[in-house]
């Protein structure tokens, strides 16, 4: 009887146990330490919660930009060779209204970062967490302020002598050309200030439906093979085959015996962000480098030196910054290039 009573008492205590939820799965998880949280909690919200103190000038930003950013984004942030342009398409009038006029213009080509940016925290946070592309999280807060200031200056948002800081970033936010350009009034999320019904209402007509099945758009014949031979992109057995879109069979890919090792190094060190094996991206292709230098007797020393010291003015206007890889890896990549950059 007494054991029965204590059992009832245990049952009565259960809701209390459920309220103290962390005992539900004893032994799982532990409290995070302040140092751990500080190491990972780097996000900055639109109200600038999370923003570290600091400051940086446009002039400091320009130095950083040309050393670490221009190789992908162009000297003026205008390049679309690797990523979409950062700067362009905004005007002084946009800064007054907070709406970018070109976004209303169907004929205006492309959308730059500054045409879309509605919250300055976003730019700061992203540069801080993810840039430079091959060395993310290496910029100190003051440097992030400086690069952010420089981008805003390139876009005509702040003057050349501007210093951006945690103290004036909220005021600087009020200058963004597209700060009033966002809406959450749609049914594609469950948040506040939203439409509750889908914006497009179709009906499922089944018979003699009013439609004119006239073909308005299709790929031109000259683009048949633009995505490669479709015959090789479909299973070779079954109800359908892929259409033969290649006019001639491609040559079988040649395989070299030493494939892999140096190409993997080029990948590991981020070289492939700017150099394709056979195609120019920002810098020349590995094959073009091989063609240009392979015959030189000092090709390996010359190329490994260029990789580690950086290079400019040989293949185009955009410089290659000095690379931080070790001498042995630079030499291995140089040897691979000198031997023809075989896959």
């Amino acid at each position: 009887m007494s054991s029965c009573r204590s059992g009832l008492m245990l049952l009565a205590a259960l809701p209390l146990l459920a309220a103290a939820q962390h005992v539900a799965y004893p032994g799982i998880g532990r409290d995070a330490t302040p140092r751990e949280i500080a190491a990972w909690d780097i996000d900055v919200r639109p109200d600038f919660k999370g923003l570290p103190k600091g400051a940086g000038t446009v002039a400091q930003g320009q130095v950083l930009w040309e050393a670490q950013c221009a190789s992908c984004h162009g000297v003026f942030g205008e390049s679309n060779e690797v990523f979409q342009p950062i700067v362009g398409g905004t005007s002084a009038a946009d800064i007054k209204t907070g709406r970018v006029a070109h976004l209303r213009d169907n004929s205006y080509p492309g959308r730059t970062t500054l045409m879309k940016l509605s919250t300055l925290s976003t730019l700061w946070d992203y540069i801080h967490r993810a840039m430079p592309w091959t060395n993310p999280k290496t910029l100190r807060p003051d440097e992030v302020y400086a690069v952010t200031a420089y981008i805003l200056h390139l876009g005509g948002v702040v003057p050349a002598d501007y210093a951006l800081s945690d103290a004036n970033i909220a005021d600087t936010q009020k200058l963004l050309p597209n700060r009033n350009g966002m809406t959450t009034d749609h049914a594609l999320w469950p948040g506040p200030k939203r439409a509750t019904r889908p914006d497009v209402a179709a009906t499922a007509c089944m018979r003699d439906c009013a439609t004119e099945p006239k073909v308005a758009s299709l790929l031109p014949d000259h683009a048949r093979n633009a995505h490669g031979n479709l015959a090789e992109q479909n299973r070779a057995v079954g109800a359908q085959r892929g259409a033969q879109t290649a006019t001639a069979a491609p040559p079988p890919a040649a395989k070299a015996a030493d494939e892999g090792a140096a190409a993997l190094l080029a990948n590991k060190h981020g070289c492939v962000a700017c150099h394709g094996l056979e195609n120019k991206i920002l810098g020349p292709s590995f094959r073009d480098i091989a063609k240009a230098y392979g015959a030189r007797t000092d090709a390996v020393a010359h190329l490994s030196g260029k990789i580690r010291a950086g290079s400019s003015g040989v293949w185009g206007a955009i410089p290659m910054p000095p690379q931080t890889l070790g001498e042995a890896d630079a030499k291995a990549i140089a040897q691979w290039l000198a031997a023809g950059a075989r896959k």
């Binding site: 939820q21 962390h22 539900a24 032994g27 799982i28 998880g29 532990r30 995070a32 990972w40 909690d41 780097i42 919200r45 639109p46 999370g50 709406r99 970018v100 006029a101 959308r111 970062t113 879309k116 940016l117 509605s118 976003t122 946070d125 992203y126 993810a130 592309w133 993310p136 350009g181 966002m182 809406t183 749609h186 999320w189 469950p190 497009v200 209402a201 179709a202 009906t203 499922a204 007509c205 089944m206 018979r207 439609t211 099945p213 308005a216 299709l218 790929l219 995505h227 479709l230 992109q233 479909n234 299973r235 070779a236 057995v237 109800a239 359908q240 085959r241 892929g242 259409a243 033969q244």
Partner: protein, 455 residues
Amino acid sequence: MNDAVHARPGRLIRAPENFLGAGEVRAVFAGRREFMRRAFASASAAVLTPAALAQANPVPAGGGDPNILNLPAHSTGLGQPVATDGYGKPSKYEANVQRRQSPGLTQTRQSSVSFAPLQSLFGIVTPSGLHFERHHQGWWDIDPSKHRLMINGADPKLLKAPKVFTMDELMRLPSVSRFHFIECGANSGMEWGNVAVPTCQYTHGMLSCSEFTGVPLKILLDLAGVDFKRARYLLAEGADGSSMTRTLPMERVESGEVLVAYGSNGEMLRPENGYPLRLVVPGVQGVSWVKYLRRIEVGDKPYGSKDEVLHYIDLMPGGLHRQYTSTQECKSVVTTPSGGQVLLDKGYYQIGGLAWSGRGKVRKVDVTVDGGRNWKVARLQEPVMDKCLTRFTLDWAWDGQPALVQSRATDDTGYVQPTYRQLRAVRGSRSIYHNNAIQTWLVEANGEVRNVQLS
């Protein structure tokens, strides 16, 4: 060669369902010889004809098929031993079934996309090695013994205690396994203005479906003692170079459907898809399914991350961008026959495709072969699951005439997939994201299928 083809016996199979009436089927049989003449008259050296592609199946003069009469090596010899390959691979004859990039779409391969070959897949599950990829700063193969998940608050009062979990701990917690689709918000984005790509791999291939295994995120937030009254949002953050971040409204988590997942299709996630840990957010675009998940921060406001301010925003005709668009609305696509394929011959085909909705289950799929004038209700293949791909099929006897094939899905909220005209009337054609319009495939008289848009 023409004579040999003409001498072949008819291979038409009567449609099991009465999509074509008996009279129509007779007409198809009767018209076959005339169709073949026309097909060959228009054939050129550059374009292979259906008959040239077909695996002919006549009775040869010798009275039998050599593939039957002459026993092959695999019937007369000893095959390979078990565990030849500790992790088995597809047949060498399946080498064409690959995920692929769309040429020119991106300038780098680390911030890029590969598309799943929907035209070659069966059922609803995407084989893990064919799952589409989207990376923002390249993929990594992360040592799970060193991976951690942190839960903290935008301010300390939003939870009782910030927490850290190891993978061992996460995998000890009660798990669930659920089938869900994942679709990139930019899927079909290249087609908003006009036809841009040839096959359904490129029009719809940022779509996959797997059985995901993991822990409901709600359990972890409860362990940290989150104050759900104030913490109406959370930020999910990845551990890769881009440290991808996305805001989630807490409603989605409170329903219990958001998972912190480590498993996919019975094994661990693939590195390209977030090994060892990713968020699973059913019905929501793929960018919110943060890979290499390292941190969840609960907060009282949305976060305005890069992929909520500069990308994954939908440009409307008036110049405003819609922000935090994330629910994937009801959509479908016919995958066989589809763009870039060639029908082998006229006669019976099973039209097949996929339908899905981020708001729930697929209730109905209709299929037309006349560009939308008349529709038939397709069969839905079981199981039909919540926020999951659903396979549909319809019997079709192709009469050799040009056909415009479309599918149109309706979900269990009653929402009907729109046409391009209906979608563009509201959203214009510069949205990039959330294109769920009805797809049209033109089957030409020579059997080749082309991607088209109608007006």
